[in-house]
Amino acid sequence: MSARSETATKALRSVVTAALAIILIVLVWEGYKWTGQQTGGTWPGTGIELPVSTDDIIMPHASDIAAELVSDIRDGRSTLPLSVFLLKKAWFTLQEAAIGFFLGSVIGIGLAVLMLRWRVAERGLLPWINVSQTVPLIALAPIIVTWGRNQGLPDIVSISLISTYLTFFPVAVSALRGLQSPDSAHVELMRSYAAPWRTTLFKLRLPAARPYLFPAFKIAATLSVVGAIVGEISIGTKTGLGRAILEFAQRYAVWPERLYASVVGAAVLGLFVFGMISLAERLVLRRTDEVVA
């Protein structure tokens, strides 16, 4: 009865919260900038310098950044508003990130199942999985790119692989915890049914792992965007948000609003994928969340 209106209320509440958060960030940004300009770059009433300079290059006005988003930019032979330009770029990046997220999730869950099945695998693999994340992406990216080109693979594959490298980790770790989460009574119950290992995996362990997986998916989704952008930058591809960020960064000193605008674009993309996973989580887990006595 009220389940639907409750969902609508929840959705509305999160939109309002997000709007308030943006207003708050803008207020803090402008407040800090205003203070700095009043005092000449020091803490009020002291001679101590502010940690971040408040001039228009380091911190352009929020309104200027917003204005930049609607001003035109040349894209090949046509001109279009920067926000539309960024959306087009983000669309490419989203595709790479989506492939990276998908592959990373599959690999992560696969590794977790492997580690669950064979304790030896857990002992042998887990340290390497941890070590894998200490390798700097910036060093790894050119290796993957060069390898991909030697294999004759399109660049989008290499970029997706870089994204995969970041996403599989949180999924593998959380999936393993989730698969190990059923208590002994549940495991004994399945044994009492003489259920084979595979059946226990599909009927008990994987469903029980879902509440552990979704938080990991959220982290992985945002990481997949980071991975895709870093991949684009290191590959020097012409498409994608990473390329736009790289170009705007080179002209930052004269045109800072543009770089900030592209950062906003990347943040929006990250929020978008985060939101998609949250939505999926709500759809999948909603039924069991309703607690009534």
Partner: protein, 263 residues
């Protein structure tokens, strides 16, 4: 696998159970257990904590393997009985799967046995009727009270009509009133299905009210101290106030006192 009318439901011969055998921390849980449980009986195991009641149940269920001795269930080894799914088991905590509706929980063992969807639905409806939860099949376990969850768990254990029902302190987590109600319900279900029940408890009144026979275990290592026959005829709510009921409870209590240890 024809089993004659006089094949015992559970036959236990000279069973020892030692945990961590061979390592430094050996624990003798059960020693020299001999026991015959007849088909259709309601037998209760009672004893101080640590006497190995739950271990005994897990041995019969083939969730543990005895260090020595043999256990047969309806003439087969305990292992064959598990792989043939001859018994249903109910634990202290209902152990329902949160993500499955009540009826899907009841259908779980049927699903594993490859029953068709229609057959499963028909059986789970029957089972819901048996445990008087007809209205609740489409709810999720967390929407039910503890007593209702435990009834679902019993329905799940009985859904494939096992000849043996193993119950490990199933009502231990329930309040007194719910508990008494569940005991009567269990006896009604036992009467309707004719299943053999092996029931572990640490409640004297529960043992006296439910069983044909009460097996009193002594602790560390667990041994059969005494076997008490209880004959109270058909149980009704009045049985709890019957002098015979008190006599049975007193006999059990005295046996427990003589074995020592905290119940």
């Amino acid at each position: 696998m024809s089993t004659g009318a006089d094949t015992p439901a559970v036959q236990v011969d000279d069973v020892d159970m030692v945990f961590n055998e061979g390592s430094g921390g050996e624990v003798a849980a059960l020693s020299g257990i001999n026991l015959t449980i007849r088909a259709g009986e309601f037998v209760t195991l009672i004893g101080p904590s640590g006497c190995g009641k739950s271990t005994f149940l897990r041995l019969v269920a083939d969730l543990l393997t005895p260090t020595a001795g043999s256990i047969s269930v309806f003439g087969q080894s305990a292992h064959e009985s598990r792989t043939g799914q001859d018994y249903g088991m109910v634990f202290q905590h209902a152990g329902l799967f949160d993500w499955r509706k009540v009826k899907a929980n009841i259908e779980l063992p049927l699903e594993l046995r490859g029953w068709s969807k229609a057959d499963r639905a028909a059986r789970s409806a029957e089972m819901l009727d048996l445990v008087k939860l007809d209205e609740f099949g489409d709810l999720y376990p967390r929407q039910l009270s503890g007593g209702m969850q435990q009834r679902v768990s019993i329905a799940r254990a009985l859904s494939f009509e096992p000849r043996l029902l193993l119950m490990d302190e199933p009502f231990g987590a329930l309040d007194e009133m719910t508990r008494e109600h569940m005991q009567s319900e269990l006896l009604r279900i036992w009467g309707e299905t004719g299943t053999t029940v092996v029931f572990v408890t640490h409640s004297i009144s529960e043992a006296a009210f439910l069983s044909n026979r009460v097996i009193v275990l002594s602790p560390r290592p667990g041994r059969v101290h005494s076997i008490i026959d209880v004959d109270l005829g058909e149980r009704t709510p009045d049985t709890r106030e019957d002098p015979d009921f008190f006599t049975a409870a007193t006999t059990i209590r005295e046996a427990l006192r003589s074995v020592g240890g905290a119940v």
